[in-house]
Amino acid sequence: MAPSQAAHVPTLDNLIKSFNNQTLEASIESLIFLLKRRQVKGDECAKATAHILRQVVAKSKWNDVDQLLSRVQSAGSRLARAAPIEPVIGNVVRRVLGLIRDEATEDRNADDLASEAASDIQSLTPSTNPNAHPPQRPAHVPVRPSPSVISTGLQVSKSMFNLLSVANPGDSPITGASTPMSQAQPASVHALRSEVMDGIEEILDEINQADDQIAGFSDIQIHPGDYVLAYQPSRTVERFLIKAASKRRFTVIIASHAFSDGASEPPYAMLRKKLNAAGVNTINLASNGLMAYIPRVNKVIFSAKAVYQNGGLLVDSGSCIAAQAAHEYLKPVIVLCPVYKFCPEDPSDEVSRGELGNPSSYVSYANGPAVDALEVENTVTDYIPPELIDVYLTNLGPQTRHHLASILADHYKTEDIGFSLQLGEP
């Protein structure tokens, strides 16, 4: 049954290719469908979201920055609502929103220089005379708060006003109404569109390269002779270990949630083959409890599904036990988390309770009496409180939880942080 099911699941690449041939709406719907069925998850969510948003920018109709922002927001929130347990989607949407704002501001700054020069000469409010402006100007006027529309001379300090006013959608009709030059828009829209699409391309590159960048730090973290406990190694962790194996001799202890004894080959066979080929010993643990092995282990490594702004982690279930056990024995816990997994939010109650998964692999329907009698909870995600984590190894380098705020500030715009709050609205 499982393989036939798998056959219907398109690979991420196929999915992304299909976006080009479908209408935008169909692409969004197909991704939402897969997200809801948890057939796209983790890093794939990030990539798929970025691709969809690129389609949104490319295909949807928009005439100015506000419209673009709201298009991206609505598409993004639909995706995010389809998979509330994948905060990465929200992160990518925020990044794209921030990107659009940046591009818009950049253009406007360019304008401002020009307009300031112009206003010096004209000494009249230039915005009342729109025809005097360069053609790309009007596209950005709507973003601007109304005060600045009135007096362009004060634009140097606009960023602070911007923060407040842009978040307020009520502004846009007013500023929109004041947009006078519809005939000049296509060119500017076109420029912005290509710039934003380039930006999304950069985000995609970042997502794709993050694993390799993180792996670049592996020889700093792993020392010869170490025993490294890798809990359910994801692709990020696998790359990290393989990179380390090219430079160091150590032992990897792979722990996982559970694997069926009947499986044809032991889990992580590929990873183990690669590591063994590089001369690194591997041990597959068939144990959920890790306290017994931690005294042997020098460090614990796993990857995060998301990092919250308090430094807490959303992880595969069981990682929490690994982190707790390591913490008890004062062994370092290293979390691999690309920057795009950092969420500017706090974990919700649902997150700390954990997501419930399919219990049928533990209590099968064939086992009637058990199904009848038992209330089975198979938790598939864990929340790890920040105090258990020693190193956050990002693609920008190792971080501690005290400096996460600066990373968040670098990557997200304040006005987009509330993005998740809009999720509740239909």
């Binding site: 597959n284 068939a286 306290m291 069981g318 707790q324 056990a325 533990y362 058990a370 038992l374 209330e375």
Partner: protein
Amino acid sequence: MPAENTGAPINGAPIDTAAPAAQDAAKNVPAPASSSATPTTSEKLTAAQLKAKAKAEKAARRAQVKEARIAVPAPSPVQEKGAAGDAKGGKGKGRQDGQQSLGKGGHLQVHRGSVAGRQPSSPVPEKDVRSGIPDCFSHVPMAKRIPTSQAHKDVHPAVLAVGQQMATFALNDSISRLRATLLAFAKVIESYETPKGNSLSRHFVPHVLNPQIEYLTESRPMCFAMGNAIRLLKGKVNKFDIDTAEDEAKEGLLEWIDFLINERITLAEYAIARNAAESINEGDTILTYGHHRLVEKTFIEAKRDGKSFDVTVIDDPFERSGQELAKTLRQAGIPVLYSPNLGGLRPKVAAASNVFLGGEAIFANGSLHASSGTADVAMSAMNAGVKVIVLCETINFDRDRVSVDSLTYNEVDPERNTGDCFRLLFDNTHDKYITGVITEFESGGGNSPAQAILALLRKQEDPLID
């Protein structure tokens, strides 16, 4: 090629030296009493033999690898007899003083060594089985099925059966293993007849009981309860006067075994379940891990008292023994939440009012030896500020051994013993993660630390030996 050339002479030499040694030993066998009577000769023997024995083993092993079991039937009985005799002769002394002080951890090694000497055929398959164990766990012993044909000739059929059941984990937990061992020993005692010129108190332990114990240990490392019981049994045997009539002594021993089973197993189980059930309050949520007999009894007992409470069963996905417990409790009308793995343990533990854990053994430093994963649950609970209560019979308390990590005393799962799939059967829960231990001595509360019970036990055990 050169390797083989050098190998041949080495092979040749020890066999020559080994042969007379084995003969010496064979001579010693017919008069076993002399080994204790003439310690000087036995000491000489061991000194001379140790080397020869080691070499003979090596040679035998190599020969056997080469022959690949084709020619085994012919040479092995001879060798086995000779070597067995020498093992016995040499051991008579070393064993007894080893026994008192060392306890199981000590014997384990002794046994393994002597086993290799006695049965040259056994190391070959053993090596193969253990070769997959990762290096860092290679010191941990593992249960092993010994074909009944390969067992020592003196092993009693009842013990053979118990050994097989232990090796296959049909008898799994410490108490059922202890009970089966004691009952089998009762059979051994019943069928025992003191040879002429010997007395039971001198002959029984070294010549009859020890081979049984060796066989059991070889099948699966002894649990600590068995170690305790055997120590008590030996003490009991040694107490008999040399002139005690055989029937009287046997009668005494059988009675004592009955008493031990009654007192330390049956009654203890009941008392613990009662004590623990009293500590369950109306409306509690009790969390437990895996399936332990005492925990199950406790819940059933508490339910019978008319208390209504919830149970959260956390299971080990690689064992799934908790499912049975969950079903049993469900049938008894207790609401059960079943979690098949340790995922989401933190919130589940935080929601519980008490954690009940069953133990295999408790060491002298108060740490708990229990099925793997127990330590994680206890640690989580302690960190969440939830009481962790351990249920354990006092026969499981080991007063001679201290364990600070899980790699000191443990067992490798014989089913999962390679790098592809590796598992330790037990783990060690530090006593800082345990709020209290409930034993048959305690009346409710469960707030006494394990050390207090150890002190109590020291007092209690002395009259028991008498």
